[in-house]
Every structure is written in structure tokens, then in C-alpha cells.
């Protein structure tokens, strides 16, 4: 569904990605783990069109090249990202945030139906429906960000650090919902620092270290490898 080859990105003189490659198949949950500054978010940003990849980078989504397309066109194609740090619009209500998620769509009935679906997935948001997003707790904001991304009816959902700064119980909830979303037929590319949880829900995984893919394989296999355990799961193991 998504094929990335020799993706390189640099910020000025600093190279953030040195030509990485990864593949996401239809219906999969693929996770990209790595420490701070490894280039995980940059990868997602490049896929979403927020940063311009270097010449020669290939990003193919559903058979079309999307490298250097503007972000709003990419969203229109069903490739939607829920950004790092949640990025909800704090001055708007939960309702308005969800409406913005459906910006690319104009089928009013479909949007309403999807909103009900999203709210049933995140019952907490239903209670806060008319509250402004800035007053929500961190976990609720994360839920809102995911619900909002779902409003665009993504076929491939990019999640950037959904567990960042959340309490362990909430993290459990979030990851359960990620599985549910995937069960509904949405492909997911998940970027995480919490390797323990990410490897639990994912089918396959890639390990990113300072701009390079250093390991890849089935999630269970990586979770079992000593290298990953030592480097990324020490806290959780």
C-alpha cells in the first residue's frame, strides 16, 4: 500500500534521514520505533508532504508517487496523519475539531455517520462534545486527535507517538483502540518511542537509528531480540 525507498531529508546542512526504505501492506499495523531524534517524525512528515524529501526519494502510495505533493492532496487520497503532540486546535470545540478532520469530504450524511462512529469508539469525547479542545486532558486530546484523523476516512493512518506523555492506563486504552481501528480495515503506520507497547500491537516493525533503518521484521521477532530489548525496552521489560 505504501512503499518508501531511499527517502532522504535534510534540514539545512543537517541530514535527518539517510535514504531509508519501508513498506506497509494493506490491512497491516506497521510500527517504526527508535529513540529521540532518530528521524521517526521526519519520516512521517515526509510521507505526509510536510517536508520536502531530497531528490531521488521515492514515496509510492497505492501505485502513485506522492513525493513532493502538497499535504492537502495527500490527505485527499486517504493518507491521513495524526500529528505528534496531538495538535488539536485548542480554541475550537471537540465538534469543530472533528468537522475539521472531515475537511476534505463533503458528503454530509457520511460525515455525520462517521462522527457517530468515532464518538462510539471514544465515548469520552461524546461527554466533551461542546467543550473547547484546550480544556481536555492529555489522554482526551490524544483521543480527539485520533478521532479527528478518522473523520477523513483514512485508508492509511499515520500515528505519531500516540502514547507520548500519557498515563499507563490511558496508553492501554489508546493501544486497544488502535487495534480496533485496524480491525475495521484501516492500515496503520505507527511511530512510537514506547517500543514495548508498539511491538505488542504491530504486525511488523522497523527500527530507526540516527536516520537509518537498522532492523526490520515481524514485531514478535523483534520484541524477542536482545538488541531491541536492551536498547529500547529496558524500562518496560
Amino acid at each position: 500500500m505504501l512503499e518508501v525507498e531511499s527517502l532522504a531529508v535534510s534540514y539545512g546542512a543537517i541530514k535527518a534521514l539517510h535514504g531509508i526504505g519501508l513498506r506497509v501492506g494493506r490491512g497491516e499495523i506497521v510500527t517504526l520505533i527508535g529513540s529521540n531524534g532518530a528521524g521517526k517524525s521526519t519520516t512521517l512528515r515526509a510521507i505526509s508532504g510536510l517536508v520536502r524529501p531530497a531528490a531521488g526519494s521515492k514515496i509510492v502510495y497505492d501505485g502513485t508517487s506522492i513525493a513532493s505533493r502538497p499535504p492537502h492532496e495527500i490527505v485527499r487520497m486517504g493518507l491521513v496523519q495524526s500529528p505528534e503532540g496531538r495538535g488539536v486546535f485548542p480554541n475550537m470545540t471537540v465538534e469543530e475539531n472533528l468537522e475539521l478532520g472531515a475537511y476534505v469530504r463533503s458528503d454530509r450524511d457520511g460525515i455525520d455517520a462517521d462522527r457517530e462512529k468515532a464518538l462510539s469508539l471514544f465515548p469520552r469525547l461524546k461527554e466533551r462534545f461542546r467543550q473547547s479542545a484546550g480544556t481536555l486532558s492529555g489522554g482526551e486530546q490524544q483521543m480527539l486527535a485520533m478521532a479527528r484523523a478518522l473523520m477523513a476516512r483514512p485508508r492509511l493512518l499515520l500515528l505519531d507517538e500516540p502514547s507520548l506523555g500519557l498515563a499507563p492506563q490511558i496508553v492501554q486504552v489508546i493501544f486497544r483502540i488502535i487495534r480496533e481501528i485496524n480491525a475495521g480495515g484501516t492500515t496503520i503506520l505507527l511511530v512510537e518511542q514506547n517500543a514495548h507497547m508498539a511491538l505488542k500491537v504491530a504486525h511488523r516493525a522497523y527500527v530507526l537509528e540516527v536516520g537509518r533503518i537498522v532492523m526490520e521484521g515481524p514485531a514478535a521477532e523483534l520484541a524477542a531480540s536482545d538488541q531491541v530489548k536492551n536498547a529500547y525496552m529496558g524500562r518496560h521489560a
Binding site: 510536510l50 492537502h72 490527505v75 491521513v80 495524526s82 486546535f89 480554541n91 475550537m92
Partner: protein
């Protein structure tokens, strides 16, 4: 004074009417209440125009975080374009001789020339990007620009036909729309050509560019084939009548001059009414429509807005067009109220725009309702200051309040109180 001679005359008015009031045929009203009412009306009328201009400043600041110094020139341009279009449409009732010399060439130049200039500019900007893709962003922008330019020309022609048919009021409305469309197009072009390439540049650079554009508009406007360097009288395009009079006309105590009653003029009502309708429409647009939500999203974070599938560039262009159109409307209405048009670099007119900017800051820059409130407040402050304190200091009141507000509550009245960290 002997009270047996009859009722004591009211207290003499102080200060006596000033030269500019004489020239306007308007004398200060007499009693405390009359004076208050007159000041209140003037303040509200001008304040609502400030509010219209302030909206443009505040919207652009909200989205791009820079002060668009060229905005006050769009306001002046709006007044001049409505003047040019009025001549084009045959409303030259004030000075037929001057109109005969000037009427034909420059309105046509402005309307069609701008259409052509946009065309060329967008083709130049668009060609490198057009290769390989049939209808890209640039191509759409180009098409939109050209359609827009023709819409302006169409409105001007409509104004001409309407005026010829004796429907001068409707024609005035057509001229207002024409002026708004033209300024919208100018705003659109400026953003695409000058501001868009600087989207990620330091803010100082954008500010300097804005100053450059301001200079450009002022000096282009002063060219002989544009509007020239002479002030002009604005033909009256809107109906005017005295709706109500408060107090009667009577001689002053020393019988030197006649005290005029407070007049509620139809023109003021129309001007303030138009401004309020436009503001309500904008408020509705921003807070209750999809594009409005998109604007607010972009102003909070361009990156996150893009991730929602919002075409950020288009929303920014839209914001510029909207702001410029409101400024043009303010220009039109101001020129109707005070019928003297200063040359495009006239500091008095440019300063009007700057005061509207002050209004935006006082209300809380980036906050749309704040801009409306700030505009009205600044208008009232200015007129009450002139009427009750030292009249020559009208600009000092405005800028003094600006500094006070910034020191006490830097975010403005309705803005957040956070002091900006660069």
C-alpha cells in the same frame, strides 16, 4: 445678565467652531446633550470604518504573524478605485471639467490594466509549475484572477448602465462591489507575488517587504496616468437626507454664527449599517462556515491544518482577499462621508489606516471580535478626545492608548495576555 429680560440664554459654546468645522458646514452643537450625541455619532460612524480596516490587519496577523503595513494603502486604494469607477460610470457631478480630462483613461487603465497585470504575473509565476500537470494550484489561481478581473470590469459597466438608467443608488452599490473586487484582486496578487515566497523568511524581512509594497502602492497611485497627485472631490454615490434633528438651529449667544442642530444623516446610517452588516457577515463566515474553520485552523498551526487536508495557500490567499475587500469597503464609505480624497501617499489617509491597525492591537491582534470592538473604541476615543479635550491631539490619544494598552495588557482587550516570546 438680568434674568428679568427672559430666560437666560444657554451657556456660550466653547471652544468656538474651528476652521475645518466651518468648512464642512457643520458647527458644534450647543447643549451638553447635543454635543455628546454628535460626538457619539461621529465616533461610531468612523469607528465602524476603523473596525472594517482593522479586521484585515488582524486576520493577516492571525495567520501569518506579521503586520501588513500595505493594508492601509489598500484602504486608500479602495477609495480611489471607487472614485475612478464613479467617473467611469458617469457620476462626475462635482467637477465636470476635471472629470472630462481624467474620466476616460485611468479607470479603464486601473480595471483592465490590473486584470492584465495579474494575468502576466500569474503566468510568469505559474509556468514553471504548470509543466506536466494540467490544472495545478497556479493554474487555478490564474483562472480565478482573470475571472475576478473581469468581474470587476463587469461591475463597473453595470454601475455605468444603472447610473444611466437613473438607478444611481443601485449604481453606488455596484461601485462599492467593484471597488471591493478590485482591491480583493490586488490583495490576492500582492500575497502571491510578494508574501508567499517569504513564508518561511524572518519576520523582519516580511515587514520590510510590506513597507516596500506600501511605498509601491502609494507611488504607483500618484503617477499621472493613475490617480495623479492632486486631491479630488468624491462624487456622492449614496443617498443622503436628514433623518432626524435634535435641537433647532438658532443664533449663538454672540449672534456671530448659527448653531446647527444635531442631524442624524441617512449617509451615516448607511455607512455604519453597511459596515455592521459586513462585520456580521464576516463573523458568521469565520465562526460558522467550513472555510472559516479552516482559517482559524491555519492561524493556529499551518502544519496541523495541512494535515487536515486544508489547502493552506488557498486559505491564506482567501484571507488576504477578504481583508482587502473589507478595507476597500471602508475606503468607499469613508470617501462618501468625508468627500475629499487625498493623494495616495497622503499621510492623513495613510494614518487613518494606521489608526485602524492600532484598533486591531487594542482589541487584541489576531482576534476578529477584538478588532471590531477596538475599531469602535478607537473611533469613540478619537472623537471624544477632539470634542472634549485638546482637538489637535487626536492622533496622540490614539497612539497614547495604544502604548497604555500594550504596557498594561499586551494581548489587547480580548486577546490572550501572554507576552510574545520571539
Amino acid at each position: 445678565m438680568d434674568s428679568r429680560l427672559g430666560p437666560a440664554p444657554p451657556r456660550a459654546h466653547w471652544p468656538p467652531p474651528r476652521a475645518h468645522e466651518q468648512a464642512r458646514g457643520y458647527y458644534p452643537p450647543f447643549t451638553v446633550l447635543e454635543k455628546f450625541l454628535q460626538t457619539l455619532m461621529d465616533g461610531l460612524a468612523v469607528g465602524s470604518l476603523y473596525a472594517l480596516i482593522a479586521l484585515g490587519y488582524t486576520m493577516v496577523y492571525g495567520i501569518l504573524k506579521f503586520i501588513n503595513f500595505a493594508h492601509s494603502d489598500i484602504f486608500v486604494l479602495g477609495a480611489w478605485i471607487s472614485y475612478a469607477t464613479a467617473l467611469f460610470a458617469g457620476y462626475n457631478d462635482l467637477d465636470p471639467a476635471a472629470a472630462g480630462i481624467q474620466a476616460a483613461p485611468f479607470p479603464v487603465w486601473v480595471l483592465y490594466g490590473l486584470g492584465g497585470a495579474t494575468f502576466v504575473a500569474l503566468v510568469v509565476a505559474g509556468i514553471p509549475k504548470l509543466q506536466g500537470r494540467p490544472l495545478s494550484e497556479s493554474a487555478r489561481a490564474l483562472l480565478l484572477g482573470v475571472t475576478w478581473a473581469w468581474a470587476c470590469a463587469g461591475m463597473a459597466l453595470a454601475a455605468r448602465v444603472l447610473q444611466g438608467a437613473g438607478w444611481s443608488i443601485v449604481g453606488g452599490g455596484a461601485i462599492l462591489i467593484c471597488s471591493m473586487l478590485t482591491c480583493g484582486l490586488v490583495g490576492f496578487t500582492l500575497e502571491r507575488v510578494a508574501y508567499k515566497p517569504l513564508r518561511n523568511a524572518p519576520r523582519l524581512n516580511v515587514l520590510i517587504t510590506a513597507i516596500g509594497i506600501s511605498l509601491l502602492l502609494q507611488n504607483l497611485g500618484q503617477l499621472e496616468w493613475m490617480f495623479g497627485t492632486r486631491p479630488q472631490g468624491m462624487p456622492s454615490l449614496l443617498p443622503d437626507a436628514v433623518l432626524a434633528e435634535i435641537g433647532g438651529s438658532r443664533p449663538s449667544p454672540d449672534a456671530d454664527w448659527t448653531v446647527q442642530p444635531v442631524r442624524i444623516r441617512l449617509l451615516d446610517v448607511i455607512a455604519a449599517g453597511t459596515a455592521i452588516v459586513l462585520m456580521l457577515a464576516l463573523d458568521r463566515l469565520v465562526f460558522h462556515t467550513k472555510i472559516g474553520r479552516a482559517m482559524r485552523a491555519v492561524s493556529f498551526s499551518e502544519r496541523n491544518a495541512a494535515l487536515m487536508g486544508i489547502p493552506v495557500d488557498r486559505v491564506i490567499s482567501f484571507t488576504f482577499v477578504l481583508g482587502s475587500m473589507l478595507a476597500a469597503a471602508a475606503g468607499f464609505l469613508y470617501a462618501q462621508k468625508y468627500t475629499k480624497l487625498g493623494q495616495t501617499a497622503d499621510t492623513v489617509w495613510v494614518l487613518l489606516g494606521l489608526k485602524a491597525f492600532v484598533a486591531a492591537v487594542v482589541g487584541g491582534i489576531g482576534n476578529i471580535r477584538g478588532a471590531m470592538l477596538g475599531g469602535i473604541l478607537i473611533g469613540l476615543l478619537e472623537f471624544f478626545g477632539v470634542a472634549y479635550l485638546i482637538p489637535q491631539l487626536r492622533d496622540v490619544y490614539v497612539f497614547g492608548v495604544l502604548i497604555l494598552v500594550l504596557l498594561v495588557r499586551p494581548g489587547g482587550i480580548l486577546g490572550s495576555t501572554a507576552v510574545e516570546k520571539v
